[in-house]
Amino acid sequence: MIQVRELSKFYGKKAVVEKVNVNIHRGKITSFIGPNGAGKSTLLSMVSRLIDADTGEVLVDNDHVQKMKSNEFSKRVSILKQSNFMNVRLTIRELVSFGRFPYSRGKLNAEDIRIIEQAMDYMGLMEMQNDYMDELSGGQRQRAFIAMTIAQDTDYVLLDEPLNNLDMKHSVQIMKILRRLVDELGKTVVIVLHDINFASVYSDRIVALKNGRVVRDGPTEEIINSDALKEIYDMDIPIKKMNNCNICVYFNS
């Protein structure tokens, strides 16, 4: 379990994240939702030590993140940000191999190579493993990065808006893969989502943020109802049940 305790981040005097308390349960997909500027990405970045928190603490399976060695942490929690700028030209295989860096420090052994190939296979990238990253489509790039985090082999996988700039087909593909990561490999996935329907259909738990505070936190069924959504988004959103999924019809509300 990841426990977030009284976590705050200030830019100047403005609190972007303020006294947030959240528990992230093992073996589940937890979605962070909320309007723009709610502090979702900042919260995720603090949990994954990409930025320092001003107050509060984060515990991963009862260990303090701030006290953990960076290399140890990277074997337990991985984070994938929304923009992945690269200064070098890499093939898919080379990128995925970087996922083993916390273990191998650059020298791959047979075990590492087996895991790398497994990860590429899992993401359906085997045929194009020698293609260069800058020649791929958005969906393929995203899959390659997710393959890297799979190769990193952490219990917790945090993703910051992985569906950004992806079309419907690729978004569904990515979400299904994340579901499989949880159901088949027993990972814990935390994901920042903008499309509330993806959160509704694929996640086990939802944490809703607004103005840097948690406004709702609970199982998906409890959050996906018109009352809760009104509180989160200030919109009247009707919910329709279709094929066993709760779909929020927000387009004309």
């Binding site: 994954s48 990409l50 320092d52 290399n71 991985s78 700028f85 200064n87 070098v88």
Partner: protein, 316 residues
């Protein structure tokens, strides 16, 4: 062609140029000319390696392939130091005449300056690298302006001494200093070696590097210190010569198509040895000192970049 083949060819070329420089037209002067030439070759090899190494790591930590460490203003500080000493103490003062004293003074001033700069900037927290570059440019320009101001006021004979310091020259390098510099450069490799793999990850960007367990701030600080030390040593040894780091670093990226810093740094180093030793040989033997090394390197570098531009525009 595989990377190892390319490296062997380049190294062979470097060896050929070094031996050409050492033995061509020697006329059996093994006792007099050879040791002197050997010192010059060693100085060129050292400076070449120092510039290549510092430029590659600097470009990786700044995520920018058109910057060189000279942007931190160390060369300007070196010139300012020399100008100030000559202006106030005169060119016959021990700090100018005695090259050992001058070397120690220059190196320590530049390193202390760099350390103070880093310390101030990293204390602020956040992402200090771009701020560092900005401060470096401003401080560098400031140093240059003061130097120019003093050079205008200075006695014309003394100005000639200052001018000597303004251009890199391999023609009167002190043998003993080369050994000192060699020690320092080897030391930077020993210290940096373990972090070369971290640098590979750093080129994926800060967030990915931290995600993969690299102690980002620590590696960046270490590399900044290493590049400051290398620049200081090479500048104090032969004068300001960082201009061609840009060329060899980019040549190495182009030629080796690798992300591994061990290969990139080695490649850039061998290329700068070829450029310096080969260039110096051409200057001395073919042009008989009628032109300077920097002219030749800039000319070849310029031609190469135009070639790259043309190639890029054709492929896209």
């Amino acid at each position: 062609m595989r990377d190892s083949t390319k490296m062997i060819i380049l190294s062979a070329l470097a060896v050929v140029f070094c031996s050409l420089y050492l033995f061509h037209d020697l006329n059996g002067s093994f006792d007099y000319a050879l040791p002197r030439r050997a010192i010059k070759v060693l100085a060129m090899v050292l400076t070449g390696v120092a510039i290549a190494y510092s430029t590659v790591i600097f470009q990786t930590i700044t995520h920018n392939r058109i910057l060189t460490p000279s942007i931190m203003g160390l060369d300007s500080l070196y010139l300012l130091l020399q100008t100030v000493v000559i202006f106030f103490l005169g060119s016959s003062h021990i700090t100018i005449v005695n090259r050992h004293v001058n070397f120690i003074l220059s190196v320590s001033t530049m390193i202390v300056f760099a350390l103070i700069l880093y310390r101030l900037l990293f204390k602020r927290g956040g992402q200090p690298i771009y701020f560092l570059l900005l401060v470096g440019i401003i401080v560098g320009t400031f140093f240059e302006s003061i130097s120019t101001f003093l050079q205008v006021l200075i006695d014309p004979n003394e100005f000639l001494k200052v001018q000597d310091k303004m251009f890199a020259s391999f023609n009167n390098v002190s043998g003993e200093l080369v050994w000192w510099a060699l020690g320092i450069v080897i030391l930077t490799f020993l210290v940096g070696w373990k972090s070369f793999n971290d640098l590979d990850v750093l080129s994926l960007g800060r967030d990915t590097a931290i995600n993969l367990g690299v102690s980002y701030d620590q590696v960046v600080k270490l590399m900044l210190v290493i590049s400051a030390v290398l620049i200081s040593v090479s500048t104090a040894l032969v004068g300001p010569i960082t201009f061609f780091g840009l060329i060899v670093a980019n040549l190495s990226y182009q030629f080796f198509k690798s992300y591994k810093h061990k290969i990139l740094i080695a490649g850039a180093s061998v290329m700068s040895i070829i450029a310096l030793v080969g260039g110096q040989w051409v200057v001395e033997r073919i042009f008989t000192f009628s032109t300077t090394l920097s002219v030749i390197i800039n000319f070849i570098g310029g031609v190469y970049f135009i070639y790259l531009l043309l190639k890029e525009s054709r492929s896209s």
